[in-house]
């Protein structure tokens, strides 16, 4: 390295990773940047923008953009349009990258190399990364790197993104000197040129099918009967795990929160400040934070299934079923993500090319039980459903939870199906879904994915949720009760007044005024309801009890079963999350669509809760 390089210390340049889906681009991005990543949106569109940075051996800093995967630069989806625009330097607000790093999987050269040739035709400085070299070697693929570099006319490096230092060759190459723009002429037929390159530099690229793991696994997992049975078992296991595995950690968090509340309580004089800290901040945030383990387990399953290559197979198995319901197999992945949170789920609908399929998927995505509803379900189930074993294998609480999930799914199917019936002919819906080779999910990529989710959740707890809980605490504490009042203090407060007003609307579905108070902050974020109930009941009980643990026996004693069931059903359907409404508006670019979504959910929630409440009253 010469002195000139060191003089330029600081910002070295901006690179963009571009490549086919499933080329290991994101693993390479993780390898390069570690946790130095920032996830946002491109200006004006809702395509996820992932940027990170890393330092070369010379100490200079590189900024790296992970572009959405694309099969071609003739875009067929908003994702691919963004990739194309960034590569061409045409996306407003996005500086053109200095170097395009085109990532190809050595296991899938024929498909990926063709796209690399498209990228080369742009004539911008470019590096070709042969990723997954270890996998390729195991499958008997050999590639002559130096020969490929000479033939294709751009620098070529090998990489194993999942190994430590697996991207070192790329980093060194970028750090060493300026990358020049390719000067090779663009061939008329990219397929013919791909064939020529493969013949010249590689052997074994089309693989020996019989010895292929993917072939053997697919024989089982794509089997018409076995495949469906395994899918059902997998989903069931996932939901049982969410409820049972998380328990010890949840209890740990809860006792930690109780301990903290007691400490603060003991060290402060009685008064508004102590009330605010213990009943407001600690009880509120604590009761929501306790659900972090469940949310992480759910995301762990989704991420692991995605990384392993199974999710598109599930979409394959369910496609016909979902088409029958008016959706598409492609809807499966967004809808499954919606079980974690509707916001990324709705954003994932971008991969559905057909506008009507996409709109319908967006409209029913909020019916998938998101993790924010879990706290509410968990609280009510713990309070009203005995923890009995059923059939020696399952837990009754787990079964009720499963039923609530099934209700959301069933309703979504009904809605999509009616929309299809009344929506008229839909025209052709393309599927064209890649089923990538199976691979073990890499712990590092899973950990980074989970860390991202945990951060988002904790940030929400730290900001929105605590703010709302504090506001609610304020409303519930003031004005103070008149002297000599016999009712609990909250009854006379501003929140009590609001709650009693709302109870007039909600008493037909069995909600008391305490629930109504909690519904108000719950409009902004569902999971706040648990904290809000804690606040309401801590105050109305007249002491500083803590969080969900203390809440369970309390509501078990105060509410009837019909009210609890009605509230559960309300939560299956109700539109109680500003973020979801906002993302629907943004993704559909229509306030009317967002209002329609909120309206139909509200009507559904009220109607279903009404029926449930009265049916339960008649039966008990």
């Amino acid at each position: 390295m010469n002195a000139a390089v060191h003089l330029g210390a600081g910002e070295a340049g901006r690179i963009a990773l571009v490549g086919n889906p499933n080329c290991g681009k994101t693993a390479l991005f993780n390898r390069l940047t570690g946790s130095r990543q920032k996830v946002a949106n491109y200006t004006g569109v809702t395509v996820e923008r992932k940027e990170g940075r890393f330092f070369g051996p010379s100490g200079r800093r590189w900024r790296v953009l992970d572009l959405p995967g694309a099969y071609s630069l003739q875009p067929k989806s908003p994702d691919e349009a963004v990739t194309r625009a960034v590569c061409l330097g045409e996306l407003p607000g996005e500086a053109p990258p200095d170097v395009l790093v085109c990532v190809v999987s050595a296991t899938n050269l024929r498909l990926h190399l063709r796209f690399a040739l498209e990228v080369r035709a742009l004539g911008r400085p470019m590096v070709l990364v042969l990723n997954m070299m270890d996998d390729a070697a195991r499958r008997g693929v050999t590639i002559d790197r130096a020969r490929l570099e000479a033939e294709i006319g751009v620098p070529v490096v090998e990489a194993v993104a999942i190994q430590a230092h697996g991207a070192q060759a790329l980093v060194d190459l970028l750090d060493d000197g300026p990358i020049e723009a390719p000067r090779a002429p663009t061939p008329a037929d990219l397929h013919v040129e791909t064939d020529r390159l493969l013949d010249a530099v590689a052997t074994g690229v089309d693989g020996d099918l019989a010895s292929d793991w993917t072939e053997r696994i697919d024989r089982v997992l794509l089997h018409p009967v076995a495949g469906l049975v395994i899918l059902a078992l997998l989903l069931f296991l996932m939901f049982q795990a969410v409820f049972t595995w998380a328990k010890p950690v949840m209890e740990l968090i809860q006792s930690g929160v109780t301990l903290l509340g007691d400490q603060v309580s003991a060290s402060l004089p009685p008064g508004p400040l102590r009330g605010l800290l213990t009943s407001g901040v600690i009880a509120g945030a604590g009761s929501v934070l306790a659900f972090l383990p469940q949310i992480l387990i759910l995301f762990f399953f989704i991420l692991a299934l995605e990384e392993s290559g199974y999710l598109p197979r599930a979409a394959f198995l369910l496609d016909r079923l979902m088409v029958g319901a008016g959706l598409s197999g492609r809807s499966f992945i967004p809808l499954l993500s919606s079980f974690a949170c509707a916001v990324p789920g709705i954003m994932a609908t971008r991969s559905i090319q057909h506008p009507r399929d996409r709109l319908l998927t967006i409209m029913v995505a909020p019916l998938m039980t998101c993790s924010a509803r879990l706290p509410v379900y968990a609280l009510l189930i713990a309070a009203f459903v005995p923890a009995r074993e059923v059939g020696g294998l399952f837990n009754l609480q787990g079964l009720v939870l499963f039923a609530l999930y099934a209700m959301g799914i069933g309703t979504a199917v009904l809605i999509a199906w009616s929309a299809k019936r009344w929506g008229g002919p839909a025209g052709e819906h393309p599927l064209l879904l890649e089923l990538p080779a199976y691979r073990w999910p890499h712990p590092r990529d899973l950990a980074l994915g989970l860390w991202e989710r945990a951060q988002i959740f904790i940030r929400r707890v730290g900001t929105v949720i605590v703010a709302l809980t504090v506001l609610l605490w304020g409303l519930s504490s003031f004005p103070p009760p008149p002297p000599g009042a016999t009712e609990p203090a909250i009854y006379h407060s501003a929140a009590g007044w609001i709650g009693r007003g709302l109870a007039w609307i909600f008493s037909p579905i069995g909600f008391n005024w305490q629930i109504c108070i909690a519904l108000v902050p719950g409009l902004a974020a569902r999971e706040v309801v648990v904290g809000a109930l804690a606040t309401v009941y801590a105050l109305s009980a007249g002491d500083t009890g803590s969080a969900a643990e203390a809440l369970t026996p309390l509501i078990g004693a105060q509410w009837g079963l019909p009210t609890a069931l009605s509230l559960l059903v309300w939560y299956v359907y109700a539109p109680q999350c500003f973020a979801t409404q906002a993302v629907i508006r943004r993704e559909t670019n229509s306030a009317r669509m967002a209002a329609t979504a909120a309206g139909y959910q509200l009507a559904l929630a009220y109607g279903a809760a009404f029926l449930t409440y009265h049916a339960a009253r008649a039966l008990t």
Binding site: Q74, R110, L209, L431
Partner: protein, 92 residues
């Protein structure tokens, strides 16, 4: 040496065939264009590796080293010919 062409949708399970051509529906058929970009080009070897559990749709197809799920309408755009057992492979 090859049999009369049929479409990819009619290809029996796990039987190798060669792609004859992809028939676009209309002058600007994005589905045909994407099929081409995914490697469904004349001369490529294809195999149906699985059929969907309901009505045999969609189908999972291996082309080159990659697998794709295709609905009936997509698979019917692809004309294939069976390679006769033991026969040499015809060129493009």
């Amino acid at each position: 040496m090859s049999h009369a062409p049929s479409t990819l949708h009619d290809l029996p399970l796990r039987t190798a065939a060669r792609i004859q051509r992809v028939r676009p529906q209309g002058p600007q058929d994005p589905v045909a264009a994407r099929l081409d970009e995914l490697g469904f080009v004349p001369g490529a070897t294809v195999r149906v590796v699985a059929r969907g559990p309901l009505g045999g749709e969609p189908i999972a197809v291996q082309v080159g080293a990659t697998r794709f799920a295709l609905r009936r309408s997509e698979a019917e755009r692809v004309d294939v010919s069976l390679a006769a057992p033991g026969a040499g492979v015809a060129g493009r």
